[in-house]
Amino acid sequence: MSDFITNIFEQQFLQNAIIAGLLSSIACGMTGTFVVVKRISYVGGGIAHAVMGGIGAAFYWNINPLYGALIFAVISGLLIGLVRLKLKENEDTIISALWSIGMAIGIILAYLTPGYNVDLITFLFGNILLVDSQSILILLVVDVVIISFTFIFFRQIIYTSFDKEYAFVRGIKVDIIYYLMLIMVALTVVILVQTVGLILVISLLTLPSAIARIFSNSVLKMIIVSVLLVSVFIISGIYFSFSFNIPAGATIILVAGMVYFLTLLASYFRILSK
């Protein structure tokens, strides 16, 4: 443990990883809470995989992959919203389509770009230990956007999620709020692709808030607990990854998964003992 702490002070990459982890946990805890209470985790999964197309395109045209990811994520989010609200269809088909089409575009463009296959793996499984300072700056900007959205529209998001019809009757623009939530999910997904990779995003987006849900009687409390949990999961994931030389993203998810199942077990026994 003390070895790890000494290394944090000495190694730039560990410092970057921890800063990126803390920045991710803010976005993830906020958006994850809305995803869990609104039950749209599959939207997160769909957007995460669609992002692969953007990353492939970024490799192909040689720009920062995060920008490619950002554009694809936001477009997929808005498309999901359009299908739901304008065509009045269930989202699941469009989500599945975006999920696999995005992956397909990514695979083809990456194949056409020589020498990028290794980097592609980084985005599939994430590697928080490779985050550079430019990415941290992007994370910071995206975080500020998500925090502002959450604060400004807090009540409107909660009311729309809890009772959409009544929110509409009160004059809240429920459709705009839904799009806003999708954009928040898209932005958070881009952040988490760096941390745990696009395949594992869905777990980090939902498990901490699902755990927080068990202990919270308000959305605000749920957000605070989620942010704390995500940061604990990410930091301990980095620690285990560093100590045992195993992949960071997968380790973070395993820590989150274990805590989730332990909490489920504990709440099951609590119900039994009542």
Partner: protein
């Protein structure tokens, strides 16, 4: 008496299935109207049309309120709580606070004026002690009171209630009817219900809805006529004395 709402020649359909046809109906100030009819007969649809959740295919709904407040503050809507997200982490006070929110309600906190209104409304329906309790943990009767408080926050002229006692035990049902009776001193009430049950002794008018609408004044008709109007003779009425 002043006419608050005037529904003229209104029709509505979901796709090809017509739910309401040629509805003509007037709501006067301080009315307490029972909207009676079978499930699927169009009661909820009428309420949703009045409140603006649905738009009529034909016909008009005219509203004529006293104050200068905008429409959404003059109507207190109390939907069935099945329409809400189950198991949502929200406290009673935050549910009631929905009644003061609007399109420019930004930031997570309320201002002082809103807070006073919220507290007063919870007092009016005796749920102040439940303020910090999670909405999920309440009984059916308590939930109904919370929704009434939410509707009262904006001090509306009219209350629209959709089956307020459908998942409430019978003692809380009476409590809720007593509460509504008191509210009727100041407010106009339209209450949708699939049976006349308790409400026949509180209401002054009954509107039977089953695609069409037939209105009666209470006292003019027997409950048998009402049930026949509402259910189109599809029920057998058995007049009996059970002798208990």
């Amino acid at each position: 008496m002043k006419q608050l709402i005037k529904i003229d020649n209104l029709s509505f359909s979901y796709g090809k299935s017509t739910v309401l046809e040629n509805i003509n109906f007037v709501v006067e100030e301080k009315d307490y109207i029972g909207l009676i009819g079978p499930n699927g007969g169009g009661k909820t649809t009428i309420l949703k049309l009045i409140v603006g959740l649905l738009k009529p295919n034909h016909g008009t709904i005219e509203m004529n309120f006293n104050g200068s407040k905008n429409g959404q503050n003059n109507i207190g809507y109390i939907p069935q709580f099945g329409s809400m997200e189950a198991n949502f982490p929200i406290k009673v006070k935050d549910v009631v606070a929905m009644g003061v929110c609007h399109s420019a309600s930004f930031m997570p906190w309320f201002n002082k004026k809103e807070n006073i209104k919220i507290e007063k409304s919870m007092e009016d329906v005796s749920i102040s002690d439940l303020s910090e309790v999670s909405f999920n943990e309440l009984s059916g009767g308590q939930k109904q009171r919370v929704l009434i408080a939410r509707a009262l926050v904006s001090d509306p002229e009219i209350l629209l209630l959709d089956e307020p006692t459908s998942s409430v035990d019978s003692s809380s049902e009476l409590d809720i009817y007593e509460l509504l009776k008191n509210l009727n001193n100041e407010k106009t009430i339209i209450l949708a219900s699939h049976d006349l049950g308790f409400i026949s002794s509180y209401i002054n008018k009954v509107a039977c809805v089953n695609k069409n609408l037939v209105a009666h004044k209470i006292g003019d008709v027997s409950s048998e006529t009402i049930i026949k109007d509402a259910y189109k003779n599809s029920v057998n009425m058995i007049n009996h004395k059970c002798g208990l």
